[in-house]
């Protein structure tokens, strides 16, 4: 029964279903690992062992009766940006330090109704703004592969907890790369679904036209299992797309012979680590070896994506975060009778520097006299970026790129320079701008640190991306690599 906490969802499910193991044993194995490593990794903001053990006991009853599904009894960490009824949901912000939601996010509700076991809430950059998890108001998270390095962000806790064997899987959110980039830096699998595929109800808003919930898992197949559970139309989210239920695991295991893959040169940016280029080029050649045909393609608008994103996302952020006024919930400055002073102090003390920076940036881009030059221009650039993808997907089925131009960097290395930090998202944020799905799959190491390759496809091509990722993963040994923690 050794090391149950390192199982994949599918292996855990097989053993739970056959009653070789109980959910209680599986959950306790995760809790034991958390006890052993959490002091060093710090991937959680809140631990909920009582809830986990009670849910595990419930799951065991179902499983004993021959009931339950692929996630019944399987432990999960939930990023602290998703509302969990009765469990603090802080967004890693002082603003929401004492906030306790009175309802569940739809994605959380779906996991819970399928019997998943909640271990706790995952650390993140404050309000999901950041690429290193260092913007958490409470504490940083460390990369299990090297504790002096960041796990990436903003879903740093989600990726680190899976990589450290603290949980079987995690749920994160991705606005510009926040699931895929930390997954790449921690050597695990991260999926950003098509915009509108997974309900955003109960996901605390950062940039509403870009935000999307996605799983962090050990294997590509596990990613498909979680997507099965969380995807689907939700009347509570008006951007949730009507769709037929689909089994995302159905085509796993099919070969990829004859698939046309494009490699966009623009994603191999100047300054990219040579080890990343090498690993991704090797992965491309492996995919070719598996029968795919590979061709270079060009997405010329890629160079405008960063500016486009850092106008649109902060603009939406400044509007969304206007709700934190100290009136209805959250931190509230009370040492004054003046309404405006109370609001300004509430936001001054409640928000950390990166959130303030983005609120101000967005406020400026939307302000009188600058709207056309910034926000409108960025929305037009968004159209052109989207058209670039549409054009290239007439010739290829999917794209292969690096997920991140850097591997895990040292804590504190980038915090002084916001522009440098923003550049890290250069390969992931075009995908959010166009609303596409993106999957990051481990594809080797550079100087001992994990490297991720990103697969990008047209809207609703998750099944295809998962099939390609699974074929690649099955032909390589990276999935067996484990951080020594």
């Amino acid at each position: 029964m050794a090391e149950l906490n390192w199982l994949s969802i599918q292996d855990a499910h097989a053993q739970l279903k056959s009653r070789q193991i109980s959910s209680l044993e599986l959950t306790q194995a995760c809790l034991k690992q958390i006890d052993a490593v959490e002091g060093r990794v710090q991937s959680f903001l809140t631990l909920t062992p009582e809830i986990a053990l009670a849910q595990a006991a419930d799951a065991d009853k179902l499983l004993a009766a021959g009931q339950g599904g692929p996630l019944t009894g399987v432990p999960v960490q939930i990023k602290d940006v998703m509302s969990t009824k009765g469990v603090p949901t802080t967004c890693a912000s002082r603003m929401l330090e004492n906030y306790v939601p009175v309802y569940n996010a739809t994605a959380v509700e779906r996991l819970m109704s399928q019997g998943a076991v909640m271990l706790g809430k995952g650390n993140m950059d404050e309000f999901a703004m950041g690429s290193s998890c260092e913007n958490s108001a409470f504490h940083p998270t460390m990369n299990p592969w090297d504790l002096e390095r960041v796990p990436g962000g903003s879903s740093g806790g989600a990726a680190a907890s899976v990589a450290a064997g603290e949980t079987i899987f995690s749920l994160g959110s991705d606005t510009g790369g926040s699931v895929r980039q930390p997954a790449a830096l921690c050597g695990v699998v991260g999926l950003k679904p098509t915009y509108g595929l997974v309900s955003r109800y109960g996901l605390i808003a950062f940039a509403s036209s870009l935000d999307q919930i996605g799983p962090v898992t050990r294997t590509v197949a596990d990613s498909a299992v979680v997507l099965n559970a969380i995807a689907g139309h939700d009347p509570k989210d008006s951007t949730s797309l009507p769709q037929e239920p689909k089994d995302y695991t159905a085509r796993l295991g099919q070969d990829i012979k004859g698939l046309r893959l494009g490699v966009p040169e623009e994603y191999f940016v100047d300054g990219m680590e040579p080890g990343i280029r090498k690993a991704v080029e090797q992965a491309v050649s492996d995919l070719e070896g598996l029968g795919a045909s590979v061709r270079p393609v060009s997405l010329p608008t890629t160079k405008y994506a960063l500016a486009c994103y850092y106008i649109i996302a902060p603009s939406e952020c400044s509007a969304n975060l206007a709700r934190y006024d100290g009136v209805k919930y959250g931190y509230s400055y009370q040492d004054t009778d003046d309404l405006w002073e109370a609001m300004e102090k509430t936001r001054e003390y409640g928000f950390g520097p990166e959130v303030t920076r983005r609120v101000m940036l967005g406020t400026y881009a939307l302000s009188s006299g600058y709207y056309d030059a910034y926000y409108l221009k960025a929305q037009q650039a968004r159209t052109l970026i989207k058209q670039d993808f549409d054009r290239v997907f007439q010739d290829v089925d999917a794209l292969v790129t690096p997920t991140s131009p850097v591997t895990a960097f040292k804590l504190g290395e980038m915090t002084g320079d916001p522009v440098q930090m923003y550049l890290i998202d250069v390969c992931t944020l075009p995908v959010n701008i166009a609303g596409l799905p993106g999957l990051s799959v481990p594809c080797g190491f550079s100087d001992g640190l994990p490297v991720g390759m990103q697969l990008i496809g047209p809207h609703f091509s998750e099944e295809l991306l998962l099939r390609i990722g699974h074929a690649y993963e099955s032909a390589n040994q990276w999935v067996a690599a484990r951080a020594k923690i």
Partner: protein, 96 residues
């Protein structure tokens, strides 16, 4: 063009965020750096391009106007910083 101090203060007041002296300086420098990155967009010919608000492709979604249960008001008030009866309490909005 770097942001002037008065512009930083104006943005902060629009955003209703208090800033310390140090922060006015720091955010002024950093926002100026970031705005410089945006200049690349000027290379892009966007004349006649229809702006994209979101990439989902949905238009306004309607539903039947049917009353449904909503959250219990006692629950909703649980997170209120200040309440009075069934109300959120705030500072006076209008001066006497």
């Amino acid at each position: 063009m770097p942001l002037e101090r008065s512009q930083v203060e104006h943005i902060a007041s629009l955003a209703r965020i208090g800033l310390t002296e140090e922060e006015v300086q720091m955010f002024g420098d950093q926002l100026s750096d970031i705005l410089e990155q945006f200049e690349v967009l000027n290379e892009l010919d966007t004349s006649g391009v229809i702006p994209t608000g979101h990439a989902g492709g949905l238009q306004t979604v309607m539903r039947e106007d049917v009353a449904e249960d909503s959250l219990d008001s006692e629950d909703v008030l649980k997170n209120a910083p200040r309440r009075e009866g069934d109300f959120f309490r705030v500072n006076a909005v209008l001066e006497e």
